[in-house]
């Protein structure tokens, strides 16, 4: 048994130019030396089987403990009140409330509006032979699908967009430190907006998720006003930012892999496989952070309480022990052992909905676009953050109809 201090672990510098240029290579080099590495915030789980074990381990809990009160007292308090930080019983109750609105039947009923929305976005660019995938397709799509479902007026989307982008900085400690004042101000604006939105729906309920949560609250479920606020504030950015981020990543991978795209064109029913492989191959999630809740041991290592341990999908999704030839985008593989949606009690509650959204987009594109090529610089958020694509300019050849 060794303590962490005794061990020489590979260091992954998430803020280095080398990591920014090739995060997968940086993780590969570290993973070849050890299942555990060092990062700025603490430790990184690099191997797939270890990620699974740690995320099921009762002494490792999903946590925002890396958000220090000295960064921002407001963000610190908020990070502690969220769904991700809730204790087991409270978490189960709150999550159950949200999941009720996301039953499989409800999700299937959303396919026709999704198809209409992606169809309209493709119509707008199809005759031009060029577009920016991010600006024209993947950014607008989740907002147009999800805002009516949530009960958010379409004209509020640009404001919410900014709040959602700033809101997910809570997952990115380096950005949080660098831009704390802006992120806090943005969080306060979003909170004020959400409070007002809840009042509007309480006075005039509709068939949307926010009204449904209010109904659940009024029907006597133990849902306090703050919990309702917190749930709505969690759901809005989750519905917007993560789906568009992942769609941009997956489409970039497919644009760079013309043979895989050609297979999708031949058989658009492969779209769910492409979605799953995209989640594995190019995850739009940097790290899933855990806090060690009491002194514990795993494998031959002693972890003191309070240690921060992240699971990094860009490493564990490419572990050769689980995926043969892991650095290839391959529609034929079983991709499901990825950790892009997390794992265990806090696994993404919108995962099924996100899969359906992404599959509808890929299938619709595969029916209309024969092939595409990059036509300019791909820009993106830092890879130490989630790495969302900000522009993805392409030229394309439409399918002749």
């Amino acid at each position: 048994m060794t303590t962490l201090a005794d061990r020489e672990l590979p260091v992954i510098d998430l803020l280095s130019p080398e990591y920014e240029a090739d995060p997968y290579g940086a993780f590969r080099a570290a993973r070849e030396r050890s299942w555990l590495g060092r990062v700025g915030s603490g430790y990184a789980v690099l191997g797939n089987a270890d990620a699974r074990a740690i995320m099921r381990h009762p002494d490792f809990r999903v946590s925002f403990a890396y958000v220090d009160p000295d960064i921002s007292a407001y963000l610190y308090e908020r990070s502690k009140s969220g769904l991700m930080a809730a204790s087991a019983d409270r978490h189960r109750r709150l999550r159950g409330v949200a999941v009720r609105a996301l039953r499989p039947r409800v999700m299937d009923s959303m396919r026709p509006p999704m198809q209409a929305i992606i169809g309209g976005l493709i119509d707008a660019v199809i005759d031009r032979g060029e577009c920016d995938i991010v600006r024209d397709l993947t950014d607008p799509f989740p907002a147009r699908v999800m805002m009516p479902v949530l009960g958010v007026p379409a004209e509020d989307v640009p404001r919410i967009d900014k709040w959602a982008t700033d809101g997910v900085a809570i997952f990115d400690v380096s950005r949080l430190r660098a831009q704390a004042a802006q992120i806090e101000a943005s969080g306060r604006e979003f909170e004020a907006y959400t409070r007002e939105l809840i009042q509007v729906h309480r006075a005039d309920p509709g068939p949307d998720l926010i009204s449904e949560l209010i109904r659940v609250q009024e029907e006597g479920e133990k849902l306090s006003e703050d919990e309702l606020l917190m749930l709505v504030m969690s759901l809005i950015p989750a519905a917007l930012d993560t789906t568009r981020g992942q769609l941009g990543m997956t489409l970039e991978s497919l644009v760079r892999e013309p043979r895989q795209w050609a297979r999708l064109v031949t058989d658009p029913d492969l779209a769910p496989r492409a979605v799953e492989e995209g989640l594995r191959y190019s995850p739009a999630i940097s790290g899933i952070m855990h806090e060690v809740v009491r002194d514990t041991e795993y494998k031959d290592v002693r972890f003191p309480a309070g240690t921060i341990v992240g699971v990094y999908p860009r490493s564990v999704n490419r572990d050769p022990d689980v995926f043969t030839n892991p650095d290839a985008f391959d529609l034929d593989r079983d991709s499901t052992a990825h950790f892009t949606f997390g794992f265990g009690p806090h696994a993404c509650l919108g995962a099924q909905l996100a899969r359906i959204e992404m599959a509808e987009v890929l299938a619709a594109l595969a029916r209309r676009i024969e092939s595409w090529e990059l036509a300019g610089e791909v820009t993106h958020q830092p890879m130490s953050s989630n790495g969302n694509r900000l522009s993805l300019p392409v030229t394309f050849t439409a399918v002749r109809r």
Binding site: R52, R56, R92, R95, G96, V99, R100, L102, R103, P104, T336, A337, F341, G342, F343, G344, P345, A347, C348, L349, A351, Q352
Partner: protein, 64 residues
């Protein structure tokens, strides 16, 4: 009530086995199995919780 696990969707998060241990277990292949297909009435509430908590929406129930 009857309970079923769609084993193609299950990824072994093991939430069902934590919430309704009399009804679900994690099998040798690390995926969930139903221990008792016909759910005793006293566990129906726990099974409904498990349906809601399953990250893969892999649990189905029907009356009967």
């Amino acid at each position: 009530m009857k309970a079923r696990v769609d084993r193609a969707r299950c990824r072994g998060h093991a939430q069902c086995a934590l919430i309704a241990e009399k009804v679900f277990a994690v099998g040798d292949d690390d995926r969930a199995v139903v221990r008792t297909e016909v759910v005793p009435p006293e566990y129906e509430g726990a099974v409904e919780d498990a349906v809601l908590m399953c990250p893969e929406a892999a649990i189905e129930t029907d009356a009967g």
